[in-house]
Amino acid sequence: MPEHSYTVMEPVLYSIERRKRETRDTFTLELVREDGGAPMRFWPGQFNMLYMFGVGEVPISISGDPLDEAKIVHTIRSYGSVTHKMAELRRGDVIGVRGPFGRPWPLDELEGGDVVLAAGGIGLAPLRPVIYSILGRRQRFGDIALIYGERTPSDILFRTLLEQWRGRFDMKIEVTVDSAREGWRGSVGVVTTLIPGLRLDAERTRALICGPQIMMTHTIRALKDKGLTEERIHVSTERNMKCGEGICGHCQLGTVLVCRDGPVFRLSEIGTLLGKREL
């Protein structure tokens, strides 16, 4: 993992080089350092704290290519007061960035085997860097499948990119939506309905899951039905991270601090914590 070369509590200024609207409530920001320096290096699955000065700070996963040395990319769904304000950012505007924080997806462990990536909603964003990494050295991996669930066809993220990846023919991509108007020719149903149709070799497959907790819970159940053990299932958990360094305790999940010990966990590490009502 890259060494921190900054004071973690002090934001570094980045300016918006490009803002792209993804869907009605989701947008992507491409950031470059205000001082002209190289952006931070990161590992897929890590997140940054993005600071809108005078408004507040939010944890946002990095959604860009880890090999991109020119910019850092975040895809953000507008949920609360800070992200609503962020949705108004334009090219040249400046924000503060702290990070990268957290434990990444276990890319080294994926090599040599098959990989299933299961994304729900904005959960596709933290998985996109994994796909970039895998496709950058495709020959080191076996079968790759991405299953992705969204609310409606118009909420689908990275639509053009998904089509490009599907066109490579070395990666299976299945998208499903919860509801669709007439004209949608794809699948309708929750993302778990895509799992029985996957040809999985449980002994050589690892699954990476990111999405709402209830989606992850049901996805885990379906993958276990396919024979995957908790050792082979990795999840990215979301909590209300604040400091990013395991100091403030805001993101405590039972015995772990998500910002420091996660956000990516092997299921066997937190199996009993995930979905526990009291937590």
């Binding site: 108007r181 020719r185 149903g189 778990t192 999405g211 709402p212």
Partner: protein
């Protein structure tokens, strides 16, 4: 709908996940009413209110289960694909379709005669119970899936 050779249906039936571990004697009996069929993309398979006298085991392709809503047209509420069952109304009175079904892409399936199976199930409680267990599981899973669909999972919860 195009029909194919009978022996294809028997082979598909024996290999279909829905009938996994079923007594071979029952498979053989089921095969006597099975036919291999295919549908073109966009082809209606059945309509709400039709008599429900058959069901399908999807082998390839995808089928939309739809509700017609005045002013909105046909709304797809669920899709089924390889390994899935299409149609269970034949098993429950009044044996009428509750939804529309339309092939979204070229689809191959095994078609079984529901009325024939109902009669066999009445005669043989062992067969009837086995079918009930399997179709009930399909119904329970669909109910759970649709409950999750209603929750707006990907909204403000992440």
């Amino acid at each position: 709908m195009k029909e194919h050779a009978a022996e294809e249906a028997e082979k598909m039936l024996a290999e279909h996940v829905f009938f996994r571990d079923l007594d071979p004697a029952i498979i053989k009996m089921l095969s006597s009413s099975a036919r291999s069929v295919s549908f073109d993309a966009g082809e209606p398979i059945y309509r709400e209110g039709n008599e429900a006298d058959r069901f399908f085991l999807i082998e390839t392709g995808r089928v939309a289960i739809q509700v017609f809503v005045t002013g909105r047209g046909s709304v797809t509420v669920y899709t089924v694909g390889p390994g899935d069952i299409l149609g269970w109304s034949w098993f429950y009175s009044p044996y009428r379709r509750r939804f529309d079904a339309t092939a979204l892409e070229k689809t191959r399936a095994v078609m079984l005669e529901g009325a024939f199976l109902r009669e066999r199930a009445e005669e043989d409680p062992r067969l009837g119970y086995e079918l009930l267990k399997r179709f009930s599981l399909v119904a329970v899973n669909r109910l759970q899936d649709m409950t999750l669909q209603l929750l707006d999972l990907y909204g403000r919860h992440l």
